[in-house]
């Protein structure tokens, strides 16, 4: 019944036996012992579980772990390099782009994809790109500021 999957998470190889029905978010949290991706809706409406799969932001509550077999996953835990925060993490910090922090890992990874695709987005483009990620604390304004600041820094 169980299947073996092998994948890379934040640059490290993992191999585990999983039930085919195991959601990727549960695999990451329960078996790979990560705490960055969060569960907040189970219906792919909120984006708190967002991770990057082969460089694309995906909602890990709407994928099975077996679908990640052989692929590369980046979670918020893998975003900083050698202890140095990613420019997006730094910008969220400077601009107060988070309050309770629960949506933050997903929000940052969605913004990461935006900046990969469009290094110099307008406010409107930022808002459209993060519309799949809910935040109940910030009203999004400081998040928009943070993404803009990160983009400006990368372009500088």
């Amino acid at each position: 019944m169980k299947r073996t999957i092998a994948l890379s998470i934040n640059g490290k190889s993992h191999a585990d036996e999983v039930e085919p029905r195991l959601l990727l978010i549960h695999y990451l949290r329960e078996m790979a012992s990560l705490t960055g991706p969060h569960i907040a809706c189970e219906t792919s409406t909120c984006g708190a579980c967002t991770v990057m799969l082969d460089g694309k932001a995906v909602k890990s509550c709407t994928m099975f772990a077996v679908q990640a077999d052989g692929r590369k996953i980046l979670t918020i835990e893998g975003l900083a390099t050698n202890g140095k925060l990613d420019p997006l993490q730094e910008a969220f910090w400077n601009e107060h782009g988070l309050q309770c922090g629960f949506c933050t890992p997903g929000m940052i990874l969605t913004a990461k994809q935006l900046l990969n695709d469009n290094p110099n987005p307008t406010d409107e483009e930022i808002r459209k790109s993060i519309e799949g990620n809910l935040c109940r604390c910030t009203g999004y304004q400081h998040i928009v500021n943070a993404v803009k600041a990160a983009a400006a820094k990368a372009g500088a």
């Binding site: 993490q89 809910l134 604390c137």
Partner: protein, 776 residues
């Protein structure tokens, strides 16, 4: 702010980035669901699919037979525990016994019927479907006005009128006010039910230690100490055998200011199975089983003279309570009554509340808790009066404001407003948008068939809740501040922040008062075994009360530091500066680390001084604080679709002195987003059988990034005299100020079509129908 330090730069008023952020930005914070323990089991709750039903039979055997299922518990197992407490007391209040699992009857969809415990959360979820419950479905009622009608189904059979309480409050001479009036305007105004929707749902981990009969319980809560006290009562356990820990909490907005069945249930389960157990609420459960907010039907009557002088306000308030009282359910509408007069000086009010049972989720404190409803009411009524008198709504407000020299101002509802200058934010906001030019533009827009509106809300709120006599459980807050033997500083606060940033704000206060580096300060909260008793975080009280307790603890500590410093420097008095005690006459100094070490080593003590550098202060506030402000919203309404777009949102808030402008801005933005959610999009919709139709995030319109306007936020600063920091609180301001400004703006856009009022949310359908009605 008074300070004895000579540190050149203070942090009060500075944009300091938050000290809690690194763990949140890197995914390393520990929220409830991140807790793992050896042998930990997982629980899932079996819930009623019906709003009213009798449980005819319940068969748990198939679930118990499923491999991996450890136990199933039902109402019979827990019938002697409880009840879930209601902290509100009103004369004649009817309080249904609130068992932690249903006994023979269910009263709402989501009512917990049984709990399944398994070694794995997937198995527990599977086993829920194996529990066989035979229900006899009974008639239900979900609309509070229908529940009051004769012959309505009784939510609780012992109270066929569905009335939990009636409450009357009066101030001044309401009959005289209405007798003198030239004009009386009347309006039915609803504040729809909302679902608080913190991004992290609730969750509980319970761990029973049989050896010493003690229990550690982690809960995503805003009130760890109150939870411990009340849970000890529910479980019949000595309070000092119970430790409550609040891990990182992913938002609350009042919804975690409560004591819930699952907290008691998980404690019970862990005691029975002898293992740790975890329950994490699903979003569906969060929508059904965590409290809702608002749920008002209000009938207002405002009396005024022809010249616009407001004389008196009458209110009949129908509060949809839901099926049970949670911690503060019946108290919330009484807060609405307190806030009824808004910023206006009329002194005659009368309010009648009817608290109504429905077969719905209990309502309770959701961001603003009774005050948004009141503010929405008075601010709509002022606009309706302005339209009736053909007066400019800004002018009518100015005419009736409490004057800036009239503080403290005694209201007809028994409050003493602390300080204010109500004209200032209004005039600031109107200047910002160039109000006269916009009114001219509006005339031109109307001439060309366009719908454009300008809406004002000049709101007041009650914050820093609150003086103990006004609260069910004590309204003070506590702080301990310690200089450790190495000179580093630890703060233990009884507040329980969950996004408000008080680990930073409080560290700013410490750094300023002691003249130390902010990086030498750590703020700890949310563990009843570590932190002295505290009340918690809600009602915009964290900084105004918890920060003030810290301030006074610091004054005591400074006295002690100076005694040790003077002893070491062999002088009479020292100043504190740059992390040192300084003898200003000789210029000699000794660093805190050395003072601290000497105080703990205690080879020698100053006269009448205990060893160590610790001070604890429990601060009882003498009054609430009363922030205020003006929000101005410019809307454009699409004539063909009814779609409302916000062209500009200008918020000028006065929350007293500001310690960290970055954090205050965040609170305003988030508050406005929740107010805008109510004004335009959000509503908990029940069908007539008590089914929650907006029962998932897919069906509940939470504001998303592309829906939000840019919020132009600025402040006036009128210090509060209630506390030495001069702060008032800002957690709820945005929510309270927002919704009337938006609705006033849209009504203004449609007023020439004869529209006088629209109930929230202003969906395109509702607005389009009004436009069509006017055309017909």
């Amino acid at each position: 702010m008074a300070t004895t330090t000579t540190k050149p730069e203070t942090l009060f008023g500075k944009k300091i980035r938050r000290r809690e952020d690194p763990r949140l930005l890197t995914g390393t914070a520990t929220y409830l669901d991140d807790i793992k323990m050896p042998g930990m089991h997982h629980a899932c709750v079996v819930r009623s699919p019906h709003a009213a039903a009798r449980i005819k039979s319940l068969n748990v055997k198939p679930a118990l037979a499923r491999p991996g299922v450890t136990a199933v518990f039902t109402g019979a197992d827990v019938k002697d525990l409880g009840p879930i407490p209601c902290g509100a007391s009103l004369p004649g209040l009817r309080t249904p016994h609130h068992h932690i699992l249903a006994q023979d009857r269910v009263y709402l969809v989501g009512h917990p019927v049984a709990v399944v415990v398994a070694t794995d959360r997937y198995i527990a979820a599977d086993a829920v479907d194996l529990i066989e419950v035979d229900y006899e479905v009974l008639p239900a009622v979900s609309d509070p006005e229908k529940a009051l009608a004769p012959g309505a189904p009784a939510v609780h059979p012992q109270w066929p009128d569905n009335t939990a309480f009636t409450f009357h409050q009066e101030g001044g001479d309401i009959t005289g006010a209405f007798a003198q009036a030239d004009v009386v305007v009347k309006q039915r105004i609803t504040s729809q039910r909302l679902i608080p929707t913190s991004m992290e749902t609730r969750g509980v981990v319970a761990d029973w230690h049989a050896g010493d009969k003690s229990l550690t319980l982690w809960s995503s809560t805003q009130i760890p100490h109150l939870l411990r006290t009340l849970l000890a009562g529910i479980l019949g356990m000595p309070e000092n055998h119970l430790r409550v820990i609040t891990p990182e909490v992913g938002g609350g907005f009042g919804s975690k200011l409560n004591v819930y069945a699952e907290e008691a249930l998980m404690a019970f389960v862990s005691m029975r199975i002898g293992k740790p157990v975890k329950w994490v609420e699903s979003r569906r459960e969060n929508f059904l089983c965590t409290i809702h907010g608002r749920g008002h039907v209000d009938y207002f009557e405002l009396a005024a003279r022809r010249d616009g002088t407001m004389l008196g306000l009458r209110l009949k308030l129908i509060q949809d309570l839901g099926a049970y009282h949670q911690l503060l359910t019946p108290a919330i509408p009484t807060l609405s009554v307190l806030m009824m007069p808004g910023l206006y000086k009329f002194k005659n009010i009368s309010a009648d509340i009817v608290g109504v049972f429905t077969n719905c989720t209990p309502t309770d404190a959701y961001r603003g808790a009774g005050r948004p409803e009141a503010t929405h009411g008075i601010e709509r009524m002022v606009d309706i009066l302005a339209a009736e008198l053909k007066m400019d709504p800004a002018e009518l407000r100015r005419k009736n404001f409490v004057g800036k020299d009239e503080f403290p101002f005694q209201t007809a509802t028994g409050l003493a407003y602390d300080s204010g200058n109500y004209v200032l934010p209004l005039d600031t906001a109107l200047a910002e948008i160039d109000y006269p030019a916009l009114r001219r533009e509006q005339q031109q827009a109307r001439a060309s068939g366009k719908l454009m509106g300008i809406g004002l809300s000049t709101y007041g709120e009650i914050c820093a809740i609150g003086p103990s006599p006004a609260t069910p459980a004590g309204g003070w807050e506590s702080a301990t501040v310690k200089i450790e033997p190495s000179g580093k500083i630890t703060v233990l606060t009884g507040a329980s922040p969950h996004g408000q940033g008080e680990e930073t704000t409080f560290a700013q206060i410490v750094a300023d008062e002691l003249g130390v580096d902010i990086d030498d300060v750590v703020v700890i909260h949310g563990d009843t075994a570590i932190v002295q008793y505290g009340i918690g975080t809600f009602g915009s009280r964290g900084t105004a009360i918890g920060g003030t307790a810290l301030y006074y603890a610091l004054q005591e500590l400074k006295g002690k530091v100076k005694k040790f410093g003077a002893m070491l420097l062999e002088c009479d008095d020292v100043a504190l500066a740059g992390g040192k005690c300084v003898d200003e006459r000789s210029g000699k100094s000794v660093p805190f680390a050395q003072v601290a070490a000497a105080s703990y080593r205690a080879m020698k003590l100053p006269p009448n001084t205990q060893p160590g550098l610790v001070a604890t202060y429990f601060w009882e506030p003498p009054n609430f604080t009363f922030p205020f402000g003006a929000h101005v919203v410019i809307t454009d309404v699409d004539r063909e679709t009814g779609q409302v777009s916000i062209r500009r949102y200008v918020a000028v808030d006065d929350c007293g002195k500001i310690i960290n402008p970055l954090i205050v801005a965040g609170q305003v933005h988030g508050g406005v987003a929740q107010g805008l959610g109510q004004a335009l999009w959000e509503q908990a919709v029940y069908d007539e059988n008590g089914q929650l139709l907006s029962g998932e995030l897919t069906d509940y319109a939470l504001p998303r990034a592309h829906m939000m306007p840019w919020i132009e936020s600025s402040h006036t600063e009128t210090p509060s005299p209630v506390n030495p920091l001069g702060v008032k609180g800002v957690g709820e301001a945005g929510t309270i100020g927002c919704s009337p400004a938006v609705v006033n703006s849209v009504v203004d856009a449609l007023s020439h079509l004869g529209v006088r009022h629209i109930d929230m949310p202003l969906t395109p359908e509702k607005v389009w129908k009004l436009i069509q009605g006017a055309r017909a």
